[in-house]
Symmetry: C2
Subunit: 301 residues, 2 copies
């Protein structure tokens, strides 16, 4: 349940200025406005499962898109029931609909690639909850080599050569001299990844698919003392979330989806940090950046 | 549309500790929590029309009632489509529903008594909007005479006599002496009334039914300068709202439902006050009390 300080679940993911909304609890559009995000930029929404605290904000968002005169097609990846919800919405509230909504039903048997473009991939993977539920893994693709600006300014290769250089070729100049690729490029950025796991019971089986994830969000509904409740309701404790982060070799763990029974999340965070030190208990509006690193160290000049 | 400071529409009305929710825009349950209202006390909800900004909070509220283990039947008065919404809700989100929801469809041809108990009445009345829309008038019934505590303490009439005294009878004591009713009672409280008009185009025809209303809420979506937009969209300007208050002889006017196009509501309020001075532009969380007055002045001793 929401509290006076916490709205239900929604994450906004920015992958190189491409924006993805993950779950859409009641009030998501209100929070997006409060945190000054022009949400017309969202073209793709991922809904993990058909529980109200993860999707009751959908109708309001669809409606505001319409009031803003949205034209771009909107894609929603979610449980099959989302199609029924969208039909219901369109029937009663979308009669003047200015844009198309396309629903992509999720599968629950295994990890599946559900979206890709030239720079990234999105996978769904099954979680263990009371109803069919998916997590989502967002992964950048391996990038091309980065050009060294000063070298490009100096040797001025044409567009065609630049494409070749980015793929690793040396530059053959018009006088026949060869400039080695290493003089022209930096190693590519390491592809970054973000995994979203909500809601789920403790499931160490996730660790294989999420191995080495940079940023892991894992629900943390209960305290260690309430793990019986967690098991009964298909949720996890903060300690279990931390254990998943540990066995995944994640770089950082975000904890959320706290039960309203806890006045403070300090206790849950401490429990998690005892297992996985780089854990954070998130608050509404928090922003986390996954820093870019090179695939290899650049030797100093 | 909601803004970072204003949630969509919802009013909570307290009539002698009986609580009524009027419209239920997205985030209503969140605001009720923020303003510290234990919303399990709500047993009756009134929905004016089937536009999202007046009811997208319904699913979240129904869901939280369930999580709180609600047992009491919930009554919803609203457009017939609300029945479809409730069925949809129950099908996908209410499988473990702990309480019954009873929907009472509204009529749109004339004023109708839609609820009453021993102390109050609720009427619906048609408004002029793009879709069938009702306003609601809440009226206390004429109260009985109030007992003068000191006189009751002195003459000690039995329970049976007290009922008669409240209806105006004198008290005949066991020794045959008669105590005049005026010595035992104060004039009753004047029945108070609250009218809710949202959303509607300017409709002076409302004034007859709402004559002498104590507190009038009237939507005020636009400024006087945008009255063409108001007419086109089935809304009112603040000046038109004030004109309704004036011809109703309302005691006080509340303005709301402001278009997000206005950075401040000061201009709209000033326009309204030039027509009806006791106008207020409401903010989320504002509380207004309709003060009780006696039906007649009490002569000083």
């Amino acid at each position: 349940m929401p509290t006076s300080k916490r709205f239900p679940t929604a994450h906004l993911l920015n992958v190189n200025e491409r924006f993805f909304l993950i779950d859409c609890g009641e009030g998501t559009q209100i929070q997006l406005r409060r945190f000054k995000f022009g949400f017309a930029k969202i073209n793709r929404i991922f809904i993990s499962h058909i529980h109200g605290d993860h999707l009751f904000g959908l109708f309001g968002l669809l409606s505001s898109f319409q009031l803003l005169g949205r034209k771009n097609e909107l894609h929603i990846h979610g449980p099959g029931e989302i199609r029924e919800m969208v039909l219901f919405y369109e029937r009663y509230f979308g009669t003047e609909q200015s844009y198309r909504i396309k629903v992509h039903p999720l599968g629950y048997t295994r990890e599946m690639l559900i979206f890709e473009d030239e720079r990234m991939e999105v996978f769904s993977f099954p979680l263990k909850h009371r109803v069919p539920t998916c997590g989502f893994l967002f992964k950048e693709k391996t990038a091309e080599l980065n050009l060294k600006k000063e070298a490009i300014d100096r040797f001025k290769p044409g567009i065609e050569n630049i494409h070749k250089i980015k793929k690793g070729d040396d530059l053959v100049q018009s006088d026949g001299t060869i400039i080695a690729n290493e003089q022209l490029t930096l190693p590519p950025w390491k592809p970054r990844s973000y995994a979203y796991c909500s809601d789920t019971a403790f499931d160490p089986g996730l660790s294989e698919f999420l191995q080495e994830v940079d940023l892991l969000y894992h629900e943390s509904t209960f305290s260690k003392d309430d793990e019986d409740l967690a098991a009964k309701t298909g949720h996890s404790s903060s300690v279990q979330a931390a254990e998943i982060a540990r066995i995944c070799n994640a770089r950082k763990l975000l904890l959320g989806h706290f039960s309203s029974r806890y006045k403070s999340t300090d206790g849950l965070l401490l429990e998690a940090q005892s297992i996985f030190s780089n854990s954070v208990a998130v608050n509404d509006g928090d922003v986390f950046e996954v820093e870019r690193t090179r695939t290899e160290n650049i030797p100093e000049e």
